[in-house]
């Protein structure tokens, strides 16, 4: 017989699916319970995995007083909720954006832009290579806004739109595939981990 946790999970799954028929109070109650539990759990995880090991322990136990600076900057973020002094939140955000940009600028050029550009410089000997080069150039031409999209540029931009549409279609198709996997996992759980074993135990 499945244990109590499996029964709770199974029943909650059915309640959530009941929304597909129509909105109902039980669904809304469980939705609020889910949001509350998720928020509570996440706060606890962040406390134990981020604040305690990265701030409180080094600060209070090991005496790394320099950590007072990032702690103070973090607290400044909450000034947005005050009626006055909300502008103080811009300081930590500005530092965060600056640091992030500095770290990533080189990484993006070295790890993304250059290798990706290099990968489009291919001999036009195969159909696949022709598609790669044509797709890159025509799609880039669509995003070239310094000239009106007429004549050769217009044709190229139009082909670029087709490449974009095909990529959006692929993205949508794989999104459907992803969401279906979630449905399948829930159905698998209900059949093979909850109802199946429960019915077998009752026989």
């Amino acid at each position: 017989m499945p244990h109590a946790g499996v029964w709770v999970a199974g029943l909650l799954t059915l309640v959530i699916f009941s929304f597909l028929y129509r909105d109902n109070p039980v669904y809304r109650t469980i939705e609020h319970v889910y949001v509350g539990i998720s928020a509570g759990y996440y706060i606890a995880v962040m406390w134990h995995n981020v604040l305690v090991p990265n701030l409180l322990m080094p600060l209070l136990q090991d005496g790394h007083w320099v950590l007072v600076v990032p702690a103070a900057l973090s607290l400044l973020l909450f000034t947005r909720f005050l009626p006055r002094g909300g502008w103080l939140a811009r300081w930590p955000i500005a530092i965060y954006v600056g640091v992030y940009a500095a770290i990533n600028l080189q990484q993006y050029v070295q790890g993304d832009i250059l290798p990706q550009a290099q990968a489009t410089i291919v001999p036009l000997k195969t159909f696949g290579n022709v598609v790669i080069v044509a797709g890159t150039l025509t799609t880039l031409s669509y995003f070239f806004f310094s000239r009106e999209h007429r004549g050769a540029l217009g044709v190229s931009a139009r082909i670029g739109i087709w490449f974009l549409m095909i990529s959006f279609g692929a993205a949508f198709g794989t999104t459907v595939m992803s969401r279906m996997s979630l449905v399948i996992a829930r159905a698998y759980f209900v059949i093979h981990e909850w109802l199946g074993p429960a019915l077998a135990a009752m026989r």
């Binding site: 597909l20 028929y21 759990y41 996440y42 995880v45 962040m46 995995n49 981020v50 990265n54 992030y100 770290i103 990533n104 990484q107 993006y108 070295q110 790890g111 993304d112 290798p115 990706q116 290099q118 990968a119 790669i132 990529s167 692929a170 993205a171 794989t174 999104t175 459907v176 595939m177 992803s178 279906m180 996997s181 979630l182 449905v183 399948i184 996992a185 829930r186 159905a187 698998y188 059949i191 093979h192």
Partner: protein, 276 residues
């Protein structure tokens, strides 16, 4: 246009959305109750990842990124388990880490369970370094030294004292990094550990992310890719251990068939109604 076609167009146009839900439910549940055993085509990118792992010598170091949370587990946990099975069967050293605060225990549970099947021991054959806040900054810190980025593992044991970490100091001491992710962490590993420090990077991702990572495959920045439930099913097939992903592929195919029929019917009704 005859009356029957007109009535069909009207029926499709006014179709209750709950009919679609029922159709999808039947397409998903029926194959789970009675497996059909539809053929599964394996992809080049999944084969490439398997071959890369297969080519590693015994005790080589593989870094495994557990970069997902429970919302993506249906797709990513099966491929993680299949890859772990392969890594432990080949007696490779596994260094697990995560960029998600809530994923340390998820990684620990899977590592311990699958390692036990092959008699692999924590600290000797594998280590879970757990979570460290910082994403790119942590990846850059590992380039200097694993031990400074992760002084202790998930269980609080000093990393330096673990036999599994012997001789492992930076990315260059690992043979392969596989990031199982539902976010952008794979991009970060590709840009930093891969492009900057030359570590071969493989990936497992949700189906949503597949198109994004094909560009990295084409440029050679990813050595292999597992995409969604299908990727997991392919890897289960390579290691000859069918699990949840293999069982789910029949349902996946039938659900897609149902969606295709519904999309085709909707479009046919739309274009026929325009001709009217």
């Amino acid at each position: 246009m005859n009356e029957r076609v007109r009535r069909w167009i009207e029926a499709v146009s006014l179709l209750d959305r709950r009919f679609i839900f029922v159709a999808i439910a039947v397409a998903v549940v029926a194959p789970l109750l009675v497996p059909i055993g539809l053929p599964l085509r394996t992809s080049r990118e999944a084969q490439a990842l398997y071959d890369r792992v297969e080519s590693l010598p015994e005790r080589a170091v593989v870094v495994l990124g557990f970069d997902y949370d429970p919302s993506s587990m249906p797709e990513l946990a099966p491929m993680t388990r299949a890859i772990l099975d392969h890594l432990f069967r080949k007696n490779l050293r596994v260094i697990a880490l995560t960029n998600y605060a809530q994923t340390g225990p998820i990684a620990e549970r899977q590592l311990v369970e699958i390692a036990a099947r092959f008699g692999r021991r924590p600290g000797v054959d594998f280590v879970n370094l757990g979570y460290k806040a910082g994403n790119e900054t942590v990846i850059l810190a590992v380039a200097n030294d694993f031990r400074s980025a992760y002084p202790v593992d998930h269980r609080g044991i000093p990393t330096d004292s673990l036999p599994v970490m012997a001789g492992v100091h930076t990315w260059k001491d690992a043979s392969l990094l596989i990031d199982i992710a539902h976010g952008a962490t794979t991009d970060q590993y590709v840009r930093i550990a891969g492009a900057r420090f030359g570590l071969p990077v493989g990936a497992g991702c949700t189906a949503v992310s597949i198109p994004r990572y094909y560009s990295y495959l084409q440029s050679g920045q990813l050595v292999g890719l597992l995409g969604g439930l299908q990727g997991a099913a392919e890897y289960e097939r390579f290691i000859r251990k069918p699990g949840f992903a293999s069982a789910g592929m029949d349902a996946q195919s039938m659900a897609h068939l149902a969606i295709l029929i519904l999309v085709a019917a909707g479009n046919a009704a739309f274009f026929l109604s325009r001709r009217r």
